[in-house]
């Protein structure tokens, strides 16, 4: 079972990386959260039923873990705003794209835990039905919340209507 689990997680590890990148500002926090999500996935794996897709289940566990994770007090992510996201963007991308990535992460970092979950799934092009299934809220509320988030992001990124 462990091998099956490791194989499936290795195939879908992008989901965990994305969740970590949206919830953590520093590399150290991302590593911690990655491990925490991995452990929660392993703990929950026996309860995984094939009623939903593996990726849907993985999103749910990863996002719930990220929302309920507790950063150690000694680290203050707000004091290192998005530098690590910017530092990664050093090869193969133009400066404009780097700036846009930085701006996007900076705006997302200002959102609340649940808003980050919905934003990530929206950016991943997940249908509202699946977002509702993952987050446990109804499709209508997902739509309402997404509209509010869009307005918030526009404001945060100084995007004009």
């Amino acid at each position: 079972m462990r091998d099956d689990f490791v194989h499936m997680v290795t195939q879908n590890q992008g989901i965990i990386h994305k969740v970590c990148s949206i919830y953590c500002d520093s590399e150290e926090d991302r590593k911690d959260l990655f491990q925490e999500i991995l452990a929660q996935l392993w703990k929950s794996f026996p309860s995984f039923r094939s009623e939903s897709k593996f990726s849907t289940w993985m999103y749910r566990v990863a996002l719930n873990t990220a929302i309920t994770s507790f950063k150690r007090g000694k680290r203050k992510p707000d004091q290192t705003p998005m530098e690590s996201h910017f530092q990664i963007a050093d090869e193969g991308y133009d400066t404009e794209m780097e700036e846009q990535i930085k701006m996007m992460y900076k705006a997302i970092s200002k959102l609340s835990g649940i808003e980050k979950s919905i934003t990530l799934l929206y950016l991943e092009d997940r249908p509202y039905e699946e977002i509702a299934e993952i987050t446990g809220i109804t499709q209508n509320y997902v739509r309402v919340k997404m509209n509010r988030i869009k307005k918030k992001l526009k404001k945060l990124m100084n995007i004009e209507e």
Binding site: H17, Q35, V61, N64, F70, V144
Partner: protein
């Protein structure tokens, strides 16, 4: 940049990160063995610490009844001229108080394990959070019931002690009304101090063990309520 461009920016960042951060299965396996703790797991550890503290308090209460009560009786016998006996029903009342604490602990443990058996991360977070937080709200209520019972038992014990003490006093005739009032005042102040002290200690233990973790869970619950 337009809001519609966000998705393409996100995809660019994601594909870049995927290339840089991709781990092989061996790395994933090794990461499974080392890990940090989530809020729920920290609460799990602190629930166990809380139980050790409560167990120590219960043992102290049992020791007070079983060991100290005879000691108090011998002090009374040695230093007071009149024969005074601690009423048996006061000891019984103390044991009822201990029994209440034990029943409360068992009730909390059963409720907590029922909720904790489910893995919060793989369940519907809104419902899981609610049932998880509800267990702690009930724990607060249980603590208040215990404190109320403790205050009642203490008040009854102190009043009885005062009454028996005064009745047995050989100088009863010399006791003036102002002396009665002073004794009553000191008793009431002592009673308030003890009840307030116990309340503050229990509050402090609760805050230190669960406060910051529960407040974060409360914040998420509020946010989810907000969405509705």
């Amino acid at each position: 940049m337009k809001l519609e461009d966000l998705k393409s920016v996100w995809k660019a960042a994601a594909s870049r990160d995927a290339n840089k951060k991709s781990l092989d299965s061996e790395e994933i396996k090794s990461m499974l063995s080392k890990r940090s703790m989530s809020i729920i797991e920290k609460i799990n550890v602190n629930v166990k610490i809380g139980f050790v503290i409560i167990l120590a308090i219960i043992l102290l209460m049992i020791a007070d009844n079983a060991v100290m009560a005879p000691v108090y009786q011998s002090w009374i016998d040695n230093y007071v001229n009149q024969p005074i006996e601690i009423p048996g029903w006061i000891i019984t009342l103390s044991y009822v108080q201990i029994a209440l604490a034990i029943v409360g602990c068992i009730y909390f443990w059963v409720c907590y394990n029922r909720v904790n058996r489910k893995n919060i991360s793989s369940e519907n977070i809104k419902q899981s959070l609610k049932s998880f937080i509800d267990v702690f709200v009930n724990l607060k209520k249980l603590t208040k019931v215990f404190l109320l019972f403790f205050a009642v038992v203490l008040a009854i014990s102190m009043t009885t002690g005062l009454y028996i003490g005064l009745q047995a006093s050989s100088n009863m005739a010399n006791v003036t009304t102002s002396s009665y009032l002073m004794i009553f005042g000191i008793g009431a102040a002592l009673f308030s101090l003890i009840v307030f002290g116990v309340f503050k200690v229990l509050q402090l233990i609760f805050r230190r063990l669960f406060g910051k973790y529960l407040s974060k869970l409360y914040a998420y619950q509020e946010e989810l309520k907000d969405i509705e």
